[in-house]
Symmetry: C2
Subunit: 141 residues, 2 copies
């Protein structure tokens, strides 16, 4: 049986794959250090990524700085899946606290009223695809 | 019902949570640009993270540079889960092609013979925990 193959995704395909809401990851560079990567729950709003954080936290200090958003979904059984990376600039609005304007964070108790919006400058993705007509489910049982 | 609470994890807890093998994400800073974040399948080897990439690819050019590894697992139903971030330095060995020395990449056809090992300089993690004695499964159905 052949291995899955890696295919680049079009920008349109990337946006189709990214769920409207869920858990993704925000990555931030710190000068010459290794990036910080933290999960966030997010929503997609008119091709921007919106999430919340607490005032004064690392993510709230990102206004006008480059950040990345990554989300993926893999099937370990069939070794297929996809990954999308959205890179761009963060716009932070400390004043926003309209509950309808951003996803409610899963964690409580830290007053995550700061809304961060990622305006994309590049969108890219890859998909691990199963070779057509070569699946034999019995091989995985 | 209370929301899940966010707890910091000890280094020992982080290593206990990171599966011995699976899919994680490698993040790399590029000067002042937004980080690149790509999924990799990896193995844990004596508290280092080992993965493969193709010679000449972006990840193979990381020798002696800072990179991050992130892995998480969330339960969207109960809104609980954990995330671990391992930051450190990449050591690339273009010569290694012993199939037993590193995980076999899921994707075929690109000759991923280059082994990259992340030597951790910091390990951190967070867990979203359910408040004890407050679960009411009926609330989620």
């Amino acid at each position: 049986m052949s291995k899955p193959t890696l295919a680049l995704l079009s920008v349109e395909d990337c946006w189709r794959l990214v769920p409207d809401a869920g858990v993704g990851r925000i990555a931030v560079s710190r000068d010459r250090e290794a990036p910080i990567v933290v999960p966030v729950n997010y929503v997609v709003d008119d091709r921007t990524i919106v999430f919340r954080t607490g005032a004064g936290t690392k993510l709230s200090l990102l206004h006008d700085r480059p950040i990345s958003f990554q989300v993926d979904d893999f099937d370990p059984l069939h070794r297929t899946g996809w990954s999308v990376l959205i890179r761009g600039v963060a716009v932070v609005d400390e004043r926003v606290c309209d509950p309808d304007a951003a996803p409610v964070p899963w964690s409580g108790g830290v007053g995550r009223r700061t809304v961060v919006r990622l305006w994309p400058s590049s969108v890219s993705g890859r998909r691990l695809e199963a070779p057509e007509h070569e699946w034999d489910p019995r091989g995985y049982l």
